[in-house]
Structures are given as C-alpha cells and as structure tokens.
Symmetry: C2
Subunit: 369 residues, 2 copies
C-alpha cells in the first residue's frame, strides 16, 4: 500500500496520527490549504509550506475544466505543474458539480452539467472522476459521491446514499495508479441511521481512508457539532478520517475532539483576500478605520511572516489601496493561524490534555479570555 497511517496517540476521541505518502508525511490532525486551480490563491508554494502546510487540496472540477487534467498529466502531474513537492489530495469534483444547481442532471451513470467557464456540456461519471485524478497524480483521490443540500428530504438523502455507495464501488474497480490511493465518502446528512448504513457499506469495501461529506452545506454549525462524534465513530479507528470542507477554527477544534483527522476549507485564504484576519481571540476586519494607525501586528504572538514584519496599519493601507500584497500577506497569516492551531492540537493530544486545550481555545475565540 503506497500510503500508511499510524495512530500515535488517542486522547478521548481525539487522535494523533501520521500519514505517510509517496510525496511526504502528513501529521494529523491536519489542515489542508485549498489550491483550487493549481495554486493556493496569492501564495507561492514556499509560503504555503512556511506557513506550516504539509498537504494541500486540489479541485478536480476546476483543474479538469482548466487547464485540463490531460495537460497537467503531460506537464508531469500536478505536483510538478504547480511546484508543490509535498502530498496532494484531490476531491472528486462531485461537490462542485452538485453546486451547479439547475445546470446539471444526475443519474446512476453520472452527472451531466455545463462548464461554468464556457457553458460546454460535460459529464462526470465515477470512472471519469478516477481518470481525472489519476491524470492529476494526487496522492489521495476521493471517490465520486452525491452530496445533497443541507435541507434535502429523506427520499433525496436515501437516494444520495445509495448512489454514493454504488459510485464508490465503481471508483474502486476503475482505480489503478502506482502511488495514488482512494478515500471513500460517507453521506447521510444529519441522519445517523443513513450515515451508519453508508459507512457500513463503504467500510466493507476496505478503502485506505474515509471521509464525512455533506457537512457544512447549509445546516447550523451546532447541528454539525452534535452529529460529529457519532459519525466519526462509524469510521474505522485505524484509518484516516477526513471531514470535508470544514471549517471555522471553532469547527476544527470540535471536530478534532470528535475524532476527525483531516480538514480543508477555503476560509483562511478567501477571508485573507477580503481583509478578514483570524486570531486566537476572534476575527479582525483590517479595513476597519481603527486599524489605520495601529502599529501592532495582526496577532502579537504569531510567528508568521506577516506578523513578524508588518503592522495592521500597513495591511489596512494595502487593502485601502487595493494592493495585491494585502491579500497575499493576510492569506499567509490566516493559513499560518489555522496550521498553528492544528499543530497545537497535535501537541495537546500527545500530552493527553486535548479537552482542556479545546475548551480554552474555544473560549478565547469567543472573546472570553
């Protein structure tokens, strides 16, 4: 098996682990910066690495449409194309396709949709999702699943679970790659019974890793928090557990406490581009006039490049002047913040004090320091 997972410590449901891939090690709990179109927006790979990232996520949908997965393959694969030598996880493209409301038609065969770039008709089948990701050459590929919206009815949910199981099997059958492995995705929304059925069927297929999909799709954060411990417990103990598309720092702290190992979210970079900074005591809007003359860094005890070298006043100025360096610096800080939070979580788990750590960090995030 070209990937291995070592469970190094458990602290309640929280887990400390280590995933070894062909392109390097991922210490878990791990946050994966999102590099949608073959670049973590606004940052060089060196900046992403320096912020503490060990693995990044690439979006199959976006890369297949532009520049095209065969082009990426011909250029030596995604690692080489984007100059990221470390581990890469790719999603299956399903989430993006299912977000194209009104523009797609789903059957058991796959999803027919239109490109958001030029409107040309396209099809994503389980087999196609496998082939695209094999062309990209990611270390971890995701099976194609059907991710229904947060407000989906029970029949819709059941159908999505049925189809997700069907497609996972077809992805597995179609897969053939020297170092890439596939993770399966458990759907079922807030319905624990459906989640259980889905997990049972997928676990029987013995994938090297499992994900929870269908969270952070419009439901209240508290509903997700409540569902996570039971959902995490449905997944094999000895394999990595990935919570897809989540989330805020609060969500990550709670999800780690529920026994999840991997996370991805556009929030740190997207917020960074919009002048919203994450800190351990909550968010800061750097466009706010009160930062105009503030010589303090974004976060005083943050060792990131942005905080060591620049003031809030400078960042306020960069955003006011619409200078590219503002989004770059703040995306960097926000990633460093997320990655440091995960590193601190790993330390806390190793030292058997995760519950106290998470409680204290959550209170600080709420401004209760």
């Amino acid at each position: 098996m070209p990937i291995s997972f070592e469970l190094l410590a458990e602290d309640g449901p929280a887990r400390l682990g280590k995933i070894t891939t062909t392109h390097g090690v991922i210490e878990t709990p791990a946050f994966m910066p999102v590099g949608t179109a073959g670049t973590v927006k606004g940052l060089t790979p060196e900046m992403v690495r320096e912020a503490g990232a060990q693995v990044i996520l690439g979006n199959t949908y976006h890369l297949a449409l532009r520049p095209g997965d065969e082009l990426v393959r011909d250029m030596g694969g995604l690692h080489k194309f984007m100059n990221w030598p470390g581990p890469i996880l790719t999603d299956s493209g399903g989430f993006q396709v299912f977000s194209l409301t009104g523009q797609r038609k789903v059957t058991d065969a796959g999803a027919a949709f239109r490109s958001h770039i030029d409107g040309r008709p396209l099809e994503l089948t389980p087999e196609k999702a496998v082939e695209i990701q094999q062309n990209l050459g990611s270390d971890i590929a995701m099976v194609l699943d059907e991710c229904p919206p947060g407000e989906a009815t029970l029949p819709v949910l059941k159908e999505a679970v049925r189809r997700s199981i069907l497609w996972a099997k077809r992805c597995q059958d179609h897969h053939s790659h020297p170092y890439q492995v596939q993770f399966a995705i458990v759907q079922g929304a807030q319905n624990l019974e459906l989640r259980g059925e889905c997990a049972e069927a997928l676990v029987a297929l013995d994938f090297p890793g499992y994900a929870l999909g269908g969270f952070s799709v419009g439901e209240a954060p508290e509903a997700m928090h409540a569902a996570l411990p039971a959902c995490a417990a449905l997944l094999p103990r000895e394999k990595p557990r990935y919570l897809m598309g989540v989330g805020r720092p609060e969500d990550l702290l709670i999800a780690v406490g529920a026994g999840l190992d991997m996370f991805d979210c556009v929030m740190p970079t997207r917020s960074g581009r919009n002048a919203l900074a994450f800190t351990s005591t909550g968010t800061i809007r750097l466009r706010n006039a009160k930062h105009r003359r503030d010589s303090a860094p974004v976060e005083s005890d943050c060792p990131c490049y942005c905080c060591v070298n620049y003031s809030r006043a400078y960042l306020h100025h960069l955003f006011a002047a619409k200078e590219m360096l503002g989004p770059t610096l703040l995306s960097l800080h926000n990633l460093a913040f997320y990655l440091r939070l995960m590193r601190d979580a790993r330390t806390a788990i190793a030292e058997g004090r995760y519950a106290a750590f998470a409680t204290s960090r959550l209170a600080a995030l709420r401004g209760e320091t």
Copy 2:
C-alpha cells in the same frame, strides 16, 4: 555627507559606480523597481531583493495621499512600514501632479490640484515636497520640478526650466534631514540649449546627485536616444546620474552607454501583471494560446524563481484563470530580467567591453541572434 559615490570604472561614456547610503550600497548602473504605494506590486520585499534589487523607488504623490506621509513617519518611516531595509529613492510628486491634466494649476508658489482618490483640493509646493519626503525618510529625495509634456512649445519649456531651477533652490534651502540627500532634476526636453542652462544653474547649487527629467514623456524613443549622450555630459562626472522613468531594456542599454547610472520604470511589474514577459530575445505574451502546452520556462537560462520552478504552460494557465500568482511570478521574472541586465552591464563596463556588450544585447532584443 550621508551619501557617497565612487566612480569605479569608465568605459567610453559608460560608468561603473557605487553609491553608499545609510541603508546600504547601490551598485551602478542600477535599476530601481517601483513601489508606488509602499509595495512593489504583487511582490514581497524578499522577492524584490532576491530578484537582485538594491534600491527601490517610492512615489511621494501616492504615499502622501494614502496612507499619508505623517502616518508613515509615525509608523517609523517608509523602510520599516513596508519592510524594505535597503536604500529607497522617492520622487517629488511633481510628475504625477503634472500628469493630472485639467485638474491642476501651477504658479511659482507651487501646484494646486485635486486628489485622484477623493477629489479633495491639495497643494504641492517645493517646501511641501521636501517635508513629505523627509517624513517618508527615503535615502534619496528628489527636488520638485516642473515636467512639461513631450510636445510642449519653447515658451512652455523655458518657463518649466526657470521654475525647476527656482524650486530646486527652495527645496535645497528647506531641506534638513540626518541621512536623506536630495538630487536635482534637469529639464528642457529635447532642447540641448535649455538643458545646458538648467544643468549649469543646478550644478552651481552643488547637489549630491543629478537627474534627467522630461524624457519618456511621449517623444519618440530615438529622439531620447539621440539626446542622451549630450545631456548626460552636462552632469557632473563625480556624481550619480539618474534618468527618470526610463524605460524599456533597449532604452537602458543605450542610456548606460550614454553615461547614465540610475533608472526606474513600472514596465517590468506592469507588464508582468499583464502577462507580458521580457526576455533577452524580446517580449513574450503568455496569454497566447501557443504557450498552453509549453513546458519550457519563460526564459531558459534565467535563474529567477519563476523560471527555475514554473513552465510557460503553468503561467498561461494562471493568467487564463485570473490567479494572483501569475502576476506575482511574472513581475518577479521581469524584475529579475531587468536587474540581471544591469548586473551584466556592470560586468561589461568593468571589463571594458560595454559597447560590444550593448550592441550584441540590442541585436538579441530585436530578434537578430
């Protein structure tokens, strides 16, 4: 004197020199990347340094309007504010004000104009230009001058020369700064007689450096090339000579050959943001479809970060997808190209073969290799 200039070698009119400032050394001929609003657009200072820059230029007009020179002073000066520890040259703001056609009124007292940001009425006098630059804390400040357009009539040119001399004296009288020095600016367009009068008056004031203004303001490049040797010869041999706002790689090669030492231009960064790459054999448009599958770097023998790590195909993709990293990487390459050209020029002068070097480089730029 807080600045010194050593003339290390002469090779025909071409000069090899070394300017020592409080914030470091500038080897000449030198190209100064433009950091208009307190940032070289899209790049960290480390990237600018790594590309080979020893000095950058800041724009007084832009910085005075936003974030304000007093704010920059209160934040510890421009070096600290923007995290550039090396030498900084600031222009006087005059060029920008005179570019605001129809929105400004000029008398001997100064220029009244309206902010391009919020329309508020402002005034730039010689004294104000000095104070702003002292607040910014640049190493080299420029006197306020009047820069007439390329097509100006003789009476307009004469008036501009008269006023530029008047203002240079007032800037000198008003100046008081522990490490900053002022360079004077010779105007007179293509009129060598006027240039001579202006230079004579300014040289009598014994500034530590001299600039040629009023080039690259709409005249044909050949007209500038023809005027440069005589204009350079009007400036003191033992002081740095700065050709303001110039230019293309071709212009720099010719200007160095005419005896100029310092240059600035937005072209490498602005072109970089627009997918236009400079190479030793001419420019390349990376949006062109022929680069879609091109695995070669922008320039094969270029040791810059962009060329070492990325293909033309990747840059083509980044620009197609409107990803920030495209402008960043190509600005970096273009700066590296300019700065390498100046480094090669310095070597050629030191080895007494500048004329042959320039001839061969100019031929290559024209595609005549």
